[in-house]
Subunit: 249 residues, 2 copies
DNA sequence: ACAGAACGAAACCGTATTGTTTAGTTGCAA
DNA sequence: TTGCAACTAAACAATACGGTTTCGTTCTGT
């Protein structure tokens, strides 16, 4: 630093003397991507903890040690930030679901009754759908469905619908093997999912703390109901015949 | 109004001359209760249309042609107002449900198969739970469950739980008659409700417009599944035996 | 070495909210 | 008739938000 000291260097020296506060500056390439990671993770955490409206951009920026203009520069606005958070989280949620369904389907060729395989799948669905994060997202999505419908639509299309089709594919497999007898595997899948996680999910979204042990028991009872039907000896033949409008495959 | 004109009368005359703007005054007893009615109804409408956060006390007061201090004087704060709205709406919602369940139960002694009676009950549940108002309330409750848990708890205890117990009572009746065979009528009721309205309710809360005709069809398929079970000829005997852990009554 | 891109800190704008206070106005009961 | 309760309108206080702008600073491409 000879005679050609730049303005920056002069200012830097001034900053070190405490005359001018240091106000950041352009980050290194590595620091930039590490910072982006921090930003999206902090945003995820805050959105899940506080909800959409109650999470201010200021709070996100401060918690991520990032300036507000940086947030706006990268995501446009608050909705853009949340959309990015949602997409990332849906991807992290779909992977274990597909794995669980695939495992249940693969395990069908050798051991385990249909009931046991469905219960194991139900257990996976329960922990996936009723985790604190899933519930928090569900809350945000329903709350924003009026003024911000795209995000709810995205969650339904990319999340719930894929869960249904995955389960329906599993049912198709079981029906082809003759292990199940279903009118409509898609409706059956929707029904199955609601039976398995519906009540627990609903209670959790309403803020009632869930007892996982009781939830599993409830899920098992529901699945036995799904499999065996509820009709007692007296009406079994009549109602069962009426229910089955097409011949069993 | 002779020689003893009061200050009020003087002021009133001044107001009529346009010197001083009229600023209300104590209302008649009838006017007061009519005004309270307006207030709660307007509040209900606005909360349902816009949600909790997006509905300001100012907007409610203005729409009800009422001053803000009157609102605060009667309900304490915004939460008090919403709680009053919720209690009133739950009561209006429980009555037709109990009626539908009673009718289904009463109709059981003479005509109509179990399936037909359940489907009729399901139809009632569908319109009750998936009306625009029910969905809007559900949205608000889930959204406020974090920061305002009492209100969600109230809705669960006074609303959902009573729907479950009512349905469970109906199932008890059918089990006693030997028409149904259920492990646990409460869990069965919860499961039944989720099968019947779960999917449609979920889609509606996510803002997806619902096709009532398709929803009814889905409900009917679910109920046949509930009654007849999903197990095909091959596994029926084995799984059904495993499912029934206590003897049929 | 240097121009410019990319950042941080902070101030700023406009708007909106809840809840309170003040002052004027009216019905009701004693 | 008089005092008080109940009301309205309006302004107020305090706070918060989303989004933009300014300014100073620091890395990157050339």
């Amino acid at each position: 630093m000879g005679l050609t000291a730049t303005k920056a260097k002069i200012a830097s020296k001034a900053a070190k003397r405490g005359v001018i506060k240091s106000r950041g500056g352009r980050p290194t390439r590595d620091a930039a991507i590490e910072r982006d990671q921090r930003l999206i993770e902090v945003a995820t955490r805050l959105f899940l903890e506080r909800g959409f409206d109650a999470t201010s951009i200021d709070a996100v920026a401060e918690a991520a040690r990032v300036s507000k203009p940086t947030v706006y520069g990268q995501y446009g606005d608050k909705r853009g930030l949340f959309t990015a958070v949602l997409r990332r989280e849906i991807a992290r949620w779909l992977a274990p679901l597909a794995a669980a369904a695939a495992e249940a389907q693969a395990g069908g060729s050798c051991d385990g009754s249909v009931e046991e395989r469905l219960i194991e799948l139900g257990r996976q669905l329960l922990v996936l759908n009723c985790s604190a994060d899933s519930i928090a997202f569900s809350r945000i999505l329903t709350a924003q469905a009026i003024n911000f419908p795209e995000v709810a639509r995205l969650a339904v299309d990319e999340g719930w619908s894929k869960a249904v089709s995955t389960t329906a594919g599993f049912f198709d497999h079981l029906v082809d093997k003759g292990a199940l007898d279903l009118e409509d595997t898609t409706i059956a899948a929707e029904t199955f999912l609601n039976m398995v996680v519906g009540h627990t999910h609903r209670m959790a979204t309403f803020g009632i703390p869930i007892d996982m042990k009781a939830a599993v028991t409830r899920m098992e009872v529901s699945i036995r109901l799904f499999l065996a039907g509820a009709v007692g000896p007296r009406d079994r033949l009549r109602d069962a015949a009426k229910a089955r409008r097409r011949p069993a495959r």
